[in-house]
Amino acid sequence: MRRVLAVAMKELRQVRRDQRSLLILLFVPAFFLLVYGYALNFDIRNIRLAVQDDDRSTASREVISAFVNSGYFDLVADVVDGHDIMGILNRGDARAVLVIPSRFGADTAAGRHTSLQILINGDNANTATTVMGYAVGLVSTVSSRYEIQARIASPTGPLLTLEPRVWYNPELRSALFLVPGLIAYIAMLTAVVSTALSVVREKEAGTMEQIRMSPIGASAYVIGKTVPYFAISLASSLGVVAVSMALFDLPVRGSWVALIACVSLFLVGALAFGVLISTIAESQQVAFQLALLTSFLPTLMLSGFIFPISSMPVFLQAITHVVPARYFLVILRGLLLKGVDVRVLWVDILSLAAFSLAVLALASLRLKRAWA
């Protein structure tokens, strides 16, 4: 125990001496949260719209104002007769172009079928789908107004209506769903990367030999080495939660005890993973690249943080089962946003625990072998 403490003290002193890294580990995550919470979202508004109005009637102006007044579209250009629509979309001046045919006003007044053309820049498929949804919805509203005027449809409104209700995050704020992912990825960076680097640094500097000569055992060394990083990662994770509670009204609906226990469980796995990498890599460059590749990237891409797992191809869905962040995210969303009981989450908690234990066992096995 005294030996563990000695290693931990040494490591802490080293961390403190490198103030920039310490600052990065503690404060930058919370700062990021701020930027991401305010800046990043998939909510699509202010879509730049260009209009080519070949009709220039009251009816066509009504369509244009329906688009502008919806709040989703900003009118940025008025195109005259087929002039340079290509250029507008190529340069990205507008994301969508609405083309109103001549005789649009006359046709709708007479109750004849007509159509509006909408050109959408599809390079970003996600945005384009949303823009398309807005545009089609607006056109169908316009259409039903004319149908009632022309006495084709009854004015009582639609037979079947949909009442959408959103639970857990009623305003669908992106910040709330980003927070759990951020915690996972901060933990990955601080825990995996810092641990791996700090062990490999001793290898590179040659001080590893000295430590191996000392009466400190492998397990005392590893525990002493990882405890400071455990504390730092736990502090910055809870910092993220605290900042989100203050700024984004993140509700912590579940139990704090369960939250801290699950974060700790995830961190143990991450720290052990860092040690595992350090037994493979000989230089800090390699250690860092390995950490990026095996933990950081999967956490970002394969955990369901940004990209939904159910939309991935089957073989990738299978891979996501060995990404611990996948389970961690379900647990965090459950505890933070849904406020469910831990018993509902037992499958994910067990999977996370199994992962952490397996990595811990593997890391100590390899380390013991290297130590001997």
Binding site: T129, L162, L316
Partner: protein
């Protein structure tokens, strides 16, 4: 020139001596591209849906089968009461619940308006938003059919929308993401490696030795960066090859222009790495600084995944400082739109200016520190 050549040789020997590093800079980008190419889709399909059908009539079953037949939804389970859906959403077994009220079928038969409820799990706000959109348009379409069947209009709408999507008609999000991955990988590989290159010599104390050699400052820098530029070039070819031949991303513009712009971009990523190495004392610091202060913010704020036009105005102005932003417009323009310099010149100029500025800054800083 000869001094330069020997320095480059030394760097290459060092790279080769670390076979793991060599494998990583060549294999890693391919693995990453494959992962990202398949995983990075913002399309939402197969949303697990739980149905609470309190009516159990022919009409309610017809509505449910609409959802079932749609590619966007998968029926996870059916329950008989509204209360029973809680457990499904809590545990995440379903993301969405469709609640059909009792007497639904009767009201539809009599032509009385009726409301069905959709409850969605908002903890994944983005997917939920998209899925709600699907549900809305599904109901709207079904409505028209019901109205037509009841002789209350419906059928063909009077004004229909004729939508044409340019550049990516099938709306494949892959076509958008993969050119972005090219930019991202180059940034990660070259900035990281070059930021550590000089710091490592500092840490090992060999930088002093290099300083007392007759090498000029610029020779040291060029000699240090060229091997990494070479690695970057190999990565460019590999990644572009995989993008075109494996993922079948259409390359509508000129390949030569694409490669040329990649090199301009390499100026900025290598310059950034060099700059980081002048402000760092240890390799760990260099890595933390380049990934935390530069790379991650760049990735998020460049428009790689999150559209810039959705960001607040202040942040939009900040994104103008990010070279990745300009390069993304360029690669996506060349790949998807098939445009050339006549359209992309503002971005190309900004990128080149950024690269020259950061390289100059880094060179100045390093000469001040070392002389």
């Amino acid at each position: 020139m000869q001094r330069l050549r020997s320095l480059i040789r030394k760097e290459l020997i060092e790279l080769r001596r670390d076979p793991r590093l060599f494998a990583i800079v060549i294999v890693a980008p391919l693995v990453q591209l494959t992962l990202l190419g398949y995983a990075a889709t913002t399309d939402v399909h197969d949303v697990p849906l739980v149905v609470a059908d309190e009516d159990r009539s022919a009409e309610s079953r017809a509505l449910v089968s609409r959802f079932d037949a749609s590619q966007n939804f998968v029926i996870a389970d059916s329950v008989s009461t509204t209360a029973a859906i809680d457990a499904y959403l809590d545990s995440g077994r379903a993301w969405m619940a469709l609640d059909i009220p009792a007497r639904y079928g009767e009201r539809i038969r009599n032509g009385q308006p009726v409301q069905v409820q959709v409850v969605a799990d908002g903890s994944d706000a983005n997917s939920t938003n998209v899925a709600l959109g699907y549900a809305g348009s599904l109901i709207a379409g079904y409505n028209r059919e019901l109205a037509a069947a009841a002789g209350r209009g419906g059928g063909e709408p009077l004004v229909s929308a004729q939508v044409r999507v340019w550049f990516n008609p099938q709306l494949e999000s892959r076509f958008f993401i993969i050119p972005g991955v090219l930019a991202l990988l180059l940034l990660v590989v070259t900035t990281n490696l070059s930021s550590m290159a000089i710091v490592r010599e500092k840490e090992l104390g060999t930088l002093e030795q290099l300083n007392v050699t007759p090498l000029a400052r610029w020779e040291l820098i060029v000699g240090k960066l060229l091997p990494y530029a070479l690695i970057g070039a190999v990565d460019v070819l590999l990644v572009v090859g995989v993008a075109i031949f494996w993922f079948e991303v259409p390359l509508r513009g000129s390949l030569a222009l694409l490669i040329a712009m990649c090199f301009v971009y390499l100026l900025t990523t290598l310059g950034l790495g060099l700059f980081v190495s002048t402000i760092s004392k240890t390799q760990q610091q260099a890595m933390m600084t380049s990934s935390f202060f530069f790379m991650i913010p760049m990735v998020f704020l460049s428009g790689f995944v999150f559209p810039i036009e959705n960001m607040p105005d202040v942040v939009q102005q900040v994104t103008r400082l990010i070279p990745l932003r300009y390069f993304l417009v360029i690669v996506r323009g060349i790949f998807l739109k098939g445009v050339g310099l006549e359209t992309l010149w503002p971005q190309a100029l900004a990128l080149a200016g950024w690269g020259i500025a950061i390289l100059t800054l880094a060179t100045l800083r390093s000469s001040k520190r070392l002389s």
